[in-house]
């Protein structure tokens, strides 16, 4: 396809429509001019598609992104996300109500773990109401970092190298080996429970504890960690 031939742009199909990546060299304005041309030329080929644009390291402001959004819109293309490893660019995109990461991806463009604000199915509205809980029905793998401003329930494991941060409690129906922080906004009554509680590090409110080395032969029992007498303690769960 011609979009490719210019080699200033690459385009690929992703779960949420198309991902357009601008080559790193040209300035935003050059790349944008080129993009506008290509879109006009391509005409109907991209019509009715949803597109995410990866701007790489460019610092781009709200007006520039807005202009791009308009060009897309005039050609029947919905721009829904801007990816960039520049916070300034991401924040400009957020101002326009655009997403700044692809769902399910766990790393920013430089491969660093990005803390994902977890949202409920209703999106932001629901997440704004505090003290709710979210169910995560999968194993959280290394490099992933989840944050939620309520309780977090995970059905699956939390692997070494993964991180769960919650303002409320954390419950893991599986093996918890990564880092976990409950009561992240200072709530000392928060708890962490797991079928196998062996985190690399466990935090509740402002307290931190490092789990003792695990005896491999030990048979795991469900445990709950909480703060007692100013200390984090873990107790077998047997109610």
């Amino acid at each position: 396809m011609n979009l490719e031939a210019t080699s200033q742009l690459s385009i690929k199909g992703i779960r949420d429509g198309l991902l357009l990546t601008l080559a790193p060299q040209p300035s935003f304005d050059d790349a944008f001019a080129n993009l506008s041309n290509e879109i006009q030329n391509q005409g109907d080929f991209l019509r009715n598609s949803r597109i995410a644009v990866d701007l790489g390291g460019r610092i781009v402001n709200t007006d520039q992104i807005g202009a791009m959004q308009e060009v897309f819109a005039n050609n029947g293309i919905a721009l829904w996300a801007i990816l960039s490893h520049r916070e300034a660019t991401r924040s400009a995109a957020r101002d326009l109500g655009l997403a700044t990461r692809l769902p399910g991806s766990q790393m920013d463009l430089q491969g660093n773990g990005v803390r994902e604000p977890v949202k409920t199915h209703d999106g932001e509205a629901a997440a704004d109401e505090l003290a709710n809980a979210i169910l995560i029905n999968e194993t959280v793998r290394s490099g992933r970092s989840l944050y939620f401003d309520g309780h977090v329930v995970i059905v699956g494991d939390v692997n070494p190298g993964a991180e769960i941060v919650a303002d409320g409690n954390v419950i893991v129906w599986g093996k918890l080996s990564g880092l976990v922080h409950a009561g992240a906004n200072g709530d000392e009554s928060a708890t962490v429970s797991a079928l196998d509680l062996s985190p690399t590090q466990l935090r509740i409110a402002n307290r931190i504890t490092i789990a003792p080395p695990v005896d491999k032969k030990r048979v795991p029992v469900p445990e709950t960690a909480c703060i007692k007498d100013e200390q984090i303690v873990a107790e077998a769960w047997n109610r």
Binding site: G104, S105, S142, K175
Partner: protein, 267 residues
């Protein structure tokens, strides 16, 4: 679209044995009578050609194909030792961004018409170019070593592969040393499966003959009689790729986790 299947060999961390696996798996599949092309997608770090002993016959490479300087067939180097086996080398020095995921999909779609298996050697998951190798994959095979850091990186990559809807992939544990595991000095297969929760498709022992065969440019599976255990381990992977159910007799038994493993290795 043709019937050929694309198998991408990847890893979280470099140096775990992707190129070794690609060369040997491609060879083993060709020895079983299939038409196979191995592609080196590790642009800038090309070495599959060396391991396969085809370096001196390179004229065109993958970037030449993508940029239209040659036809696909011209870049396919036929292995004269083995009917049905060929490889497409990576560009040596050129721009790593010369190839896009879409390019790879297009190249592979053409190849699917001509061969049974397309085996892609990819850069480690943290490198650019990983997406190129992933995009056309029907099956992803993740190679890891029984080391904590390699397993951690494999976990990361499995997460990324899942995020691209290509997951969860299958696992090869390479450079496995049963004696060290027995002494408790190396992660066991059970330890690894416990973290990664994916099916194992092969366990390859540590074997210095791999290094010797690499230096000779002759994949180990090609050499009859030598390195029996390792050769069998690799042929078993080829058979599992074909869809055969091969029990993990070779190393798992020594490990004492046979019964547990059977439960995991289902598909």
């Amino acid at each position: 679209m043709g019937h050929g299947k694309v198998i991408t060999i990847t890893s979280g961390k470099g140096g775990v044995g992707k190129t070794t696996v690609t060369a040997n798996l491609s060879t083993a599949l060709a020895m079983a009578g299939y038409k196979v092309v191995a592609i080196d997608a590790d642009i800038g770090l090309r070495n599959l050609d060396v391991v396969m002993g085809l370096e001196n016959r390179i004229v065109y490479d993958l970037v030449d194909v993508v940029e239209g300087r040659c036809r696909l067939n011209q870049a396919m180097i036929k292995d004269k030792r083995l009917e049905g086996l060929s490889m497409i080398p990576a560009a040596q020095t050129r721009d790593k961004n010369a190839i896009s995921p879409t390019d790879m999909v297009l190249v592979c779609d053409q190849l699917r018409e001509e061969v049974d298996y397309i085996v892609i050697d990819s850069p480690a998951g943290i490198e650019r170019g990983f997406q190129n190798a992933l995009a056309p994959a029907d099956q992803v095979i993740i190679v890891t070593n029984p080391e904590v850091s390699a397993v951690r990186d494999a976990d990361r990559i499995i997460g990324m592969i899942e995020a691209e809807e290509k997951g969860p992939g299958k696992l090869i544990i390479n450079r496995y040393k049963p004696d060290m595991v027995a002494r408790g000095d190396m992660l066991s297969i059970e330890d690894i499966v416990d973290i990664l929760h994916i099916d194992i498709i092969g366990i390859i022992p540590e074997d210095e003959k791999i290094l010797i065969s690499t230096n000779r440019g002759q994949p180990l599976v090609m050499q009859n009689g030598h390195a029996k255990e390792t050769g069998v381990a690799i042929r078993n992977i080829a058979n599992r790729v074909k869809g055969d159910e091969i029990p993990f007799i070779d190393l798992a038994v020594k490990d004492g986790f046979m019964s547990r493993l059977r439960g995991w290795v289902t598909s």
